[in-house]
Amino acid sequence: MKRVILPLILFILVVLEGVAIEFLPRFLVGNGFLVTPHWVLVTLLLITTFYDLKDTYHSVVYGLIFGLLVDIVYTGTLGVYMFTYAVITYAIHGLMKVLHSNFFVAILVVAVGVALADLTIYAIYLVVGITDMVWQDYLTARMIPTVILNLIFLIVFYPLLVKLLVYLKGEHHSKNN
């Protein structure tokens, strides 16, 4: 049962992202802002920060699986989210070797991670031709609001998620040793 908690949470987040546009405040959705919820990625980054050990890569594997899920269900262009989520999570995983796990590191990691991920997605979509936004517009209309929205999500769900992750870490990894 405890093994499926993390995949289940990530799955629920994938589903919730689909209704996010409906319950986000109207002025964020219209008005030319392109706020994109990356809640799965935020949770993945928390998993890297608080759950994964130095030599376990659960978050990267989850990134591959749930990135692909987002691709299939919401965009129809396979591989973009899968690649981005996995690579960003892996990079942050490497970074965690020099950083401690605490609240401020989590904020820093999520801000950098979401910004980089969104930039990667923008770059891929620009090359493929799904978007033709110039990068100045992209910065103000999409990247900055997106990072802020996801930081708000992080701050709201941080206590709950981190408590769970730390608990699960103790349970899972002590069993293995």
Binding site: F11, I12, V14, V15, L16, E17, G18, V19, A20, I21, E22, F23, R26, V29, G30, L34, V35, T36, P37, L69, V70, I72, V73, Y74, T75, G76, T77, L78, G79, V80, M82, F83, A86, V87, I121, I124, Y125, V128, I130, T131, M133, R142
Partner: protein, 287 residues
């Protein structure tokens, strides 16, 4: 150490190759989704339906509060309109009957206006804002097929992009590019109608571009209604697309383009109707 670096680089390169292959595969104009994708879409669709119920309930409460604020002024306006409609309804009924009689005389019962409606509810909207796509709770089991038009009470919102057995995805008009054209027309009472193609959505002006093919003697005016003409062979005729906002010459100055304000609101879509055209289109007849 250098071995590990090489391995890491190797994995990254393989990842990029897989990425390019997957993107290439999914952009290659494939007609249908693979079985695995359909299965995943349907399973996520079930969860979306469950989660959508309470969220819908909450957003509706806020919507209702907003509605109550405007009730009085709206009510007055609607009463005036209602009086106008009474006369109109009678007239339409007469014309419909006459039309049917005439059709029977010429033995042509099918019309490009006829369609079977399939009612559906929106369960999700893509969080990726560049992909203008929503998910509805009816799929190929209910008779939904790719390329069918999707409308709301206000007007056309998009077309079916892909179907799974129990869900399907709708591409919104805001996500239309040059490859998704709608043949449209502006109906005139006396002069000849204006025909053209609604080609793509212009994000800067928030309007659809209606490229005029056949000009009428009289110029297009602001506020004129653009409806689908049914000539493209995919959508039925008479679906409201939007109102003319402005007319501008195109980049070569040879034809003119009308900016059309879509009739439907793309951010508040709850219930939609999938339009199943009765008269088969050209493509279907060939099959």
């Amino acid at each position: 150490m250098s071995f590990f670096r090489k391995k890491r680089l190797f994995i990254l390169l393989i990842g990029i190759i897989v990425l390019v292959a997957l993107i290439g595969y999914s952009l290659s104009n494939r007609g249908n989704l693979t079985t695995a994708e359909q299965f995943i879409n349907d399973s996520v669709g079930v969860a979306q339906r469950v989660i959508h119920k309470p969220i819908d309930f909450i957003t509706n409460i806020f919507g209702n509060i907003d509605d109550i604020k405007n009730t009085y002024s709206e009510n007055r306006l609607l009463r005036e309109k209602l009086a106008e409609y009474k006369g109109l309804v009678y007239e339409v009924q007469e014309i419909k009957e006459e039309n049917e009689e005439l059709r029977e005389i010429v033995e042509k019962t099918e019309s490009i206006r006829d369609f079977n409606p399939i009612q559906a509810t929106v369960t999700a909207r893509s969080p990726e804002r560049w992909v203008e796509q929503i998910t509805i709770n009816k799929g190929s089991q209910a008779g939904v097929k790719p390329n069918m038009a999707v409308i709301t009470a206000n007007g056309m919102v998009g077309k079916i992009q892909s179907t799974s057995p129990f869900t399907s995805t709708v591409q919104l008009l805001t996500g239309f590019d040059q490859f998704n054209r709608i043949s449209a027309t502006v109906s005139r009472e006396e002069e000849s109608d204006i025909f053209g193609l609604v080609e793509e959505y212009d994000k800067e002006t928030d309007s659809l571009l209606f490229k005029i093919i056949e000009e009428s003697e009289k110029d297009l005016e602001e506020g004129e209604l653009v409806v689908s003409s049914g000539l493209g062979g995919v959508f039925p005729a008479g679906l409201v697309i939007g109102e003319v906002k402005e007319v501008i010459p195109d980049q070569y100055g040879l034809t003119r383009t009308a900016l059309v304000k879509p009739a439907a609101n793309f951010y508040e879509i709850d219930n939609v109707i999938v339009v199943d055209r009765v008269l088969p289109g050209v493509e279907e007849e060939e099959q």
